[in-house]
């Protein structure tokens, strides 16, 4: 628990509280805008954080992430426009509550449930990340190769569509990751003699293109401008009866989310869906779900937030991102000169524990500040889309350009946006591609190292026990994902997400 104390000491410095507050506020402000999910929000605001020192910049980034999630829930509840798949479930009952004039309690439930879940999951994170990192220090290159493979394969669970397409997107991401100088030989690959590409494609540009520009083009498919109708939010407070009803769903959602969030492959989507169906099963009146019951907001929001927190465990202990936002954080670590992996927690204790503690501070700030400020966020919702999307284009261009003053980072937004738009249109999801892109260099490095150590004998991947069990797990996931009976079940879990 020394770590937590060090973390609190770091996170509670006035300057860092202020940074966290700034992150949470910015994240909510952008995340609440319709059509901008948490991933796009983090990608758009990422360049701003590079202005600060490593600790402050990661604290701000975590704040942006929580703010964006909270903002996303607000949009899902008030407008029935979930920003990403994990808040789809929140919209089911949350929006019905809003229609019945109970938007306030729905938002308060989301915030309080998230805060409770975040608090518990932070403790889980502090307990499990260090031992896992110690374990990972014993990993050889072959084991690391296998764990990256497992992480990538598991991200298929995150894609709701075809398994083959998800695999293809992973491989395409890995290939895009090979652009730039080869880390072993220094040979520039696929750069066409353009010096600016020696450092590789910029991952912020790729994320902004895939999750920002592609989404804008998709929204512009409709010929007419749509008017968004917003309602006034009043009466935030929960009644005593509400409190009684959300108590158990919040507890169960937190437990489920904490466990599922650790899974490589973005357990938080699964967590919110599973906790919703669990509450529905346990409820005495399952038919009422979908008509605006408060349990239907409390459980998935807690599960989602708990999972978001514990998904930091593989990131901080293994350097393995399990979700596009985590992939963006890996990029942020690298830009700050920190190589994510099992060493980080020992080499940079102040940074890691400060980050963990500031997640809790960030959640607290969300409850304390954002609930009273809800009126302002609702007003953000009324910004017309015709003004919003040119502003996003401008912010994205300035942001990506300002990181390295490199025009190619701006061109990459356009390329990634078009690629993403068409591939998403053809049923291929963007998240596996981004994970592949971020993990590609790690995968190649460890593959080549492992082969040198084993003197070119590929059996090293199946004779080392850790590596073999990880690869076996990956194989099981693939088999399970293509089995027809499981496919059907998965479609049920993901139903309603695609429309």
């Amino acid at each position: 628990m020394d770590g937590i104390l060090l973390g609190l000491e770091t996170a509670l410095q006035p300057g860092n509280i202020l940074i966290c507050l700034l992150g949470v506020t910015l994240g909510t402000a952008v995340g609440v805008l319709p059509g901008i999910g948490p991933t796009a929000t983090v990608a758009l605001l990422l360049p701003i954080t590079f202005e600060f020192d490593p600790v402050a910049s990661l604290i701000m980034l975590a704040g942006i992430y929580y703010g964006a999630q909270y903002g996303g829930s607000t949009t899902a509840i008030l407008l029935n426009l979930p920003g990403e798949s994990s808040s789809v479930v929140t919209a089911l009952d949350g929006h019905q509550m809003a229609k019945q004039g109970r938007a306030g309690p729905a938002l308060a439930t989301a915030a309080l449930g998230s805060f409770f879940a975040g608090t518990v999951a932070t403790v889980v994170l502090a307990m499990f990340a260090p031992p896992l990192a110690d374990l990972a220090l014993k990993f050889g290159p072959a084991d690391f190769f296998s764990i990256v493979v497992l992480g990538l394969i598991a991200s298929i669970a995150l894609a709701s569509g075809s398994t083959v397409k998800a695999l293809a997107m992973i491989v395409l991401g890995l290939l895009l990751g090979t652009i730039g100088q080869d880390q072993f030989t220094g040979v520039p690959r696929f750069t066409f003699g353009v010096r600016e590409l020696y450092g590789g494609l910029d991952f912020v540009s790729l994320a902004v293109g895939l999750f920002g520009l592609a989404e804008i083009i998709r929204n512009l498919e409709s010929r007419h401008s749509t008017e968004l109708v917003t309602r006034k939010v009043q009466g935030l407070w929960l009644t005593r009866d509400d409190f009684r009803r959300i108590r158990m769903p919040v507890l169960r959602g937190t437990a489920l989310g904490s466990a599922l969030g650790v899974l490589p492959g973005g357990g938080h989507v699964l967590a919110s869906f599973t906790s919703y169906s669990l509450e529905k099963k346990l409820s005495k009146e399952p038919k009422k779900f979908g008509t605006g019951v408060i349990e239907g907001v409390a459980a998935p929001e807690s599960a989602n937030n708990a999972a978001a927190q514990t998904s930091f465990i593989p990131l901080l202990s293994l350097g393995l991102p399990t979700h596009p936002v985590m992939a963006l954080l890996v990029g942020a670590f690298i830009i700050q000169g920190i190589t994510p992996g099992p060493n980080v927690i020992n080499d940079e204790p102040e940074l890691v524990w400060g980050l963990i503690a500031s997640m809790w501070v960030g959640n607290l700030l969300l409850v304390l500040l954002n609930l009273p400020l809800i009126g302002i966020w609702v007003r953000m919702l009324t910004v017309p889309y015709n003004v919003l999307f040119p502003a996003i284009i401008a912010f994205a261009s300035i942001g990506c350009y300002s990181i390295g003053l490199n025009a190619w980072d701006v061109f990459a937004i356009a390329g990634a946006g078009l690629l993403g738009y068409f591939l998403i249109r053809w049923g291929c999801e963007a998240a596996p591609l981004l994970l592949g892109f971020v993990l590609g260099p790690l995968l190649e490095e460890n593959l080549r190292r492992a082969m040198i150590i084993s003197r070119g004998d590929p059996s090293v991947f199946v004779t080392r026990p850790i590596s073999a069990s990880l690869l076996l797990l990956a194989a099981i996931i693939i088999v399970v994902a293509v089995l027809p009976s499981v496919r059907k079940k998965r479609e049920v879990v993901f139903q309603g997400e695609d429309d």
Binding site: I48, E51, S160, G161, S162, V164, K165, L167, A168, V171, L172, L175, T178, D182, F184, T185, V187, R189, F190, L213, I216, I217, L220, E221, R223, H224, Y385, N386, V387, F389, P390, A391, I393, A394, A396, S397, I398, Y401, S402, L405, A407, W408, V410, F411, A414, G417, L418, F422, R425, W426, G427, C428, E444, L447, R448, M451, I452, R455, G456, D498
Partner: protein
């Protein structure tokens, strides 16, 4: 490509291939080939000492195989996840305006400076809005440019020149 809205009729004797899968699979095959062929120009090496070309060739080959599987799926009734989803026509003009706006920014921000570049970029982007008049787009552009200058130059103090060399700034 604008005809990819066609929905495969799974019931017919010889069902037409599902176009989105055909296009997706075709893109994967083309991209996989491009990386594999490009990778072959570098030192390939051996399994013991992999050269720069080894991994791109292996991954490119894998992508070709996966792309072929997607094409096969197109002839077998198509991807069930998107088969029955309605796809509106591709907004070519609007997408083109957005891409032009971003490319313009990349090409001119150094030479023209931030302020004039932003004005043009946001104007082009604003023109992509549904039912928008040029005057309205210009007003939107002016407003966003002012906002960006306040946020990025005044508040965040990014070291980007407002006027570039081309304008003697």
């Amino acid at each position: 490509m604008s005809t990819d809205t066609g929905v495969g009729n799974g019931a017919g004797h010889s069902p037409a291939p599902f176009r989105p899968d055909l296009l997706a699979g075709g893109s994967f095959i083309a991209l996989g080939l491009a990386f594999a062929i490009g990778g072959a120009r570098y030192d390939v090496g051996s399994a013991l000492r992999m050269g720069s070309g080894y991994v791109p060739i292996a991954l490119g080959g894998t992508l070709v195989v996966l792309g072929a599987l997607v094409v096969v799926m197109a002839f077998r009734g198509g991807d069930p996840a998107i088969r029955d989803v309605e796809r509106p026509p591709v907004p070519w003009r609007r997408a083109g305006l957005l891409v032009a706006a971003i490319l313009f920014f990349g090409f001119t921000v150094e030479g023209l400076g931030l302020a004039p570049t932003l004005l043009v970029t946001t104007f082009l982007a604003a023109l992509a809005a549904p039912e928008v008049k040029p005057v309205r787009a210009a007003l939107t552009a002016a407003g966003i440019t002012a906002l960006c200058l306040v946020v990025f130059v005044a508040l965040l103090q990014l070291k980007l020149p407002l006027l570039g060399d081309w304008l003697g700034g």
